[in-house]
């Protein structure tokens, strides 16, 4: 009895030191030396300032930029700390809607997004790609589908005063296909695309 008590206590302490300190600290050292950019969050800089992370989505509202997917992240209400208010792409507190498929409020959210997209994109062609009317799992999805980018091209081109073909070329250059031709889904990183737009057609 007493022997087992001692053994289990000591085993807990020894394994805690190995798994809880030695392992993560050693990994931090090795990872930081081998892959410093990734280990520190794949941050993206422009003009020497951090504008975000290549892996984390951010909000774009100007018509001259491509917009990301809806995000369900929230933040503490500045007026009442017991409440949460919507705060899209809050990268300090990832969250999803967890909306039920049979929920009336989910259906009305989707209907509102459809109406807003149609108002913003009067010259868009065809129906709206489903990823533009659904909130992502993390609330921080950095990507949209190529169809969702294509849907926004007329608006962005008009706002920038450039022709659609030029914008489409930039979209194509920033589209990532399936890895090895079969793994994952084709996608466009919204931050990378918008930075490329600024670079090639001037800042907005």
């Amino acid at each position: 009895m007493l022997k087992q008590f001692k053994q289990s206590l000591l085993a807990t302490l020894v394994l805690t030191v190995l798994a809880g300190l030695v392992y993560p600290l050693a990994m931090t050292g090795v990872a930081g030396a081998l892959f410093p950019h990734q280990a520190h969050g794949s941050l993206v800089e422009r003009d020497g300032k951090v504008v975000g992370s290549a892996l984390i989505g951010q909000t774009f509202t100007s018509p001259a930029y491509f917009h990301p997917r809806p995000s369900a992240t929230t933040d503490t209400d500045p007026n009442d700390s017991s409440k949460q208010v919507p705060s899209p792409y809050n990268a300090a507190s990832s969250n999803a809607s967890n909306a039920a498929p049979t929920s009336k409020s989910f259906a009305s959210d989707v209907a509102d997004r459809v109406a807003a997209l149609k108002a913003e994109n009067p010259n868009a062609r065809g129906p709206i790609p489903v990823d533009l009317v659904t909130a992502s799992g993390s609330g921080l999805d950095p990507d949209i589908s190529p169809a969702a980018a294509d849907y926004q091209v007329p608006r962005v081109a008009a706002a920038r005063g450039t022709d659609e073909a030029a914008v489409r070329r930039i979209v194509a250059a920033n589209t990532t296909g399936r890895l090895f031709g079969f793994l994952g889904e084709p996608r466009v990183n919204v931050l990378a695309l918008n930075l490329a737009l600024d670079q090639e057609t001037g800042k907005r």
């Binding site: 892959f35 975000g52 951010q58 049979t102 989707v110 994952g184």
Partner: protein, 575 residues
């Protein structure tokens, strides 16, 4: 559904099997105490640990002492982690200034991580300090997994012995599982993840000024080291609130593939190791086939349901067709880089094993798509299952299956040369009954008690599914959730913690008792009357027993939850 999606799913199964076979061979050597390639480096460390802990590695234990060791070791880990969370505000490595965790949440979380469940009633990046994540979460990810593996090893070992009173030494099985299997796998996987973009740092949260000039705070931390073991140990507790849907936990298509393979591979390797240790790989192939078949059916149904989307909500102005330009389907709660097929694969794998990590939100799945993860858990976490736990759970079902087959032909059932008598069958049934008792008992309370009800967010049948999912996940030690269920309340923190502890230890103790009984038996040679436990007839019978036991128990609640919801949605009614 399309060819591109199906191909990706098949690739998962192929890569899994190709990795599980050599890993299983290696693990068999580890568990049999033989020297391995890693012994040169790890041998001295192993002996050092025994010395520090006062363990004599060749001193074997009776099953009661083995079980007592498991319970004491788990209790010590629980206490240490509880204290750590309660005083994290006073300790270093807390750049985000997280406060002490409330007592009920700390109790729930420590029960959750000790039992390999990793149910999370908190958002990691907004609740836990870096030190808590490392010395609490990461440590338990290793130790709860190694504990599960030890129990499976003890049970396998019992079958290989005859007329012996002991089943091995818990601390040796624990340390060898930890040191020779989990640590090397985690080191390799961690570095792979960082290469692909998972952060590993102790930086303060990054304050960025976005392209449009807004302020964005980006959470950081030692993510990769925890992510690696979270999956390999079938733990599932995310560093971030949204788990493997978060781009920092699962940034690319390649990490997605290997996260799914990672959460399956040690459990699958345990089956291979089982075949090696009993020196009859046909037995292992039968079990592997039963597991893989059930997983494939689950993935297929989930993929079909999610790809079909949700026409009642999306309407004609939304394009939900899959193509090379868009993932289509039901994309609510899913990420673009994974699309529908990879999300379905992850959901089925994470609930077939007891992992519970998610790369998309199960609460927002279509009714049938969301029923797949629920059913996988209700079948008892034997579709590869938790590391170790899945295999011993499956062996329990095998005992029931040979018992039923024995009843049909009127002979004493045998498995691997051991007669399965009244004591073993009673213990097997006991360990199976624990599960529905907790799920349906506590689940029923959750939908009637005034203290429990406010947690349910969805109206209509989906609300019932949310509550049942929570108690199924907790008892099955899975940890995935229908996230709309707000369980961070005094009532649910306590009730879920009890469900997790019950679901873990009330199964482990009878399993070790069975191991003790089997080790003490003589081995009888197979005769003409022995029911063969390999081949497709047995695989079919085993799956049938698992499905019938789960089906008879849970069909009524499934009918009231997801099935009614599916029929309402087909009729176009929302709640």
């Amino acid at each position: 559904m399309n060819a591109a999606g199906l191909l990706q799913i098949i690739v998962h199964f192929v890569v899994l099997t190709l990795l599980a076979i050599p890993l299983g061979f290696y693990m068999a050597r580890v568990f049999e105490g033989e020297r391995t390639v890693a012994s040169i480096v790890l041998g001295p460390v192993e002996r050092g640990i025994y010395k520090l802990c006062g363990v004599k590695p060749d001193q074997e234990q009776h099953w009661t002492a083995y079980a007592f060791g498991v319970l004491m070791f788990s209790l010590m880990g629980m206490l240490l982690m509880y204290v750590l969370m309660r005083v994290q505000n006073l300790l270093p490595l807390n750049p985000a200034g997280e406060t002490a965790v409330a007592p009920d949440l700390a109790f729930n979380t420590t029960a959750s991580f000790t039992t390999n469940t990793n149910w999370q009633n908190y958002g990691g990046e907004s609740t836990m300090s870096y030190l808590t994540q490392m010395m609490g979460m990461t440590v338990h990810n290793f130790t709860s997994a190694a504990t599960g593996m030890s129990i499976a090893v003890a049970l396998i070992r019992a079958f290989t012995r005859r007329s012996v009173r002991t089943i091995g030494n818990f601390y040796v099985d624990l340390v060898r599982s930890f040191l020779y299997v989990l640590v090397p796998a985690a080191v390799v996987f961690c570095l792979f993840l960082v290469w692909q973009g998972v952060p590993q740092n102790f930086d303060a949260y990054v304050a960025a000024t976005t392209v449009e000039g807004a302020h964005q705070v980006i959470a950081q931390g030692p993510v990769a080291s925890q992510e690696a073991i979270k999956l390999l140990g079938t733990n599932g507790g995310g560093f971030f609130n949204t788990n493997s849907a978060h781009p920092y936990e699962n940034p690319t298509a390649l990490t997605e593939l290997f996260e799914v393979v990672g959460l399956l591979v040690i459990s699958a390797g345990m089956v291979v190791a089982f075949g090696r240790m009993i020196k009859d790989s046909r037995q292992a192939r039968a079990i592997y086939a039963a597991m893989a078949l059930m997983l494939a059916v689950g993935v297929g149904v989930c993929y079909w349901a999610e790809a079909a989307g949700n026409p009642a909500v999306f309407g004609p102005e939304v394009d939900a067709a899959a193509s090379d330009m868009a993932p289509g389907g039901n994309m609510e709660g899913k990420e673009i880089r994974f699309g529908i097929a990879n999300t379905a694969m992850f959901a089925a794998a994470t609930t077939g094993t007891s992992t519970g990590a998610v790369n998309g939100m199960h609460d927002s799945f279509t009714p049938i798509g969301g029923m797949v993860p629920l059913v996988n858990m209700m079948l008892g976490e034997v579709i590869f299952g938790g590391v170790g736990v899945g295999l011993h759970g499956m062996i329990i079902f095998v005992i029931i299956t040979v018992f039923i087959a024995g009843l049909m032909v009127g002979r004493t059932p045998e498995y691997l040369g051991k007669k399965m008598e009244s004591r073993e069958v009673k213990l097997a049934v006991l360990s199976i009954i624990v599960f529905p008792l907790s799920v349906l008992g506590l689940g029923a309370l959750a939908v009637v008690l005034p203290d429990a009800l406010p947690a349910i967010s969805a109206a209509g049948p989906h609300g019932l599914t949310e509550a049942i999912y929570a108690y199924t996940s907790a008892t099955a030690n899975n940890g995935s959730a229908f996230g709309g269920f707000s369980a961070n309340t005094l009532y649910h923190n306590t009730a879920l913690a009890l469900a997790m502890l019950f679901g873990r230890f009330a199964v482990i103790v009878p399993t070790l008792a069975i191991a003790g009984a089997i080790a003490g038996k003589k081995t009888v040679p197979a005769s003409a009357g022995t029911f063969p436990t390999h081949g497709w007839l047995f695989v079919g019978l085993l799956i049938a027993v698992i499905v019938v036991v789960g089906g008879l128990t849970f069909f009524p609640v499934l009918a009231l939850g997801p099935i009614v919801e599916h029929l309402s949605l087909a009729a176009g009614s929302l709640f």
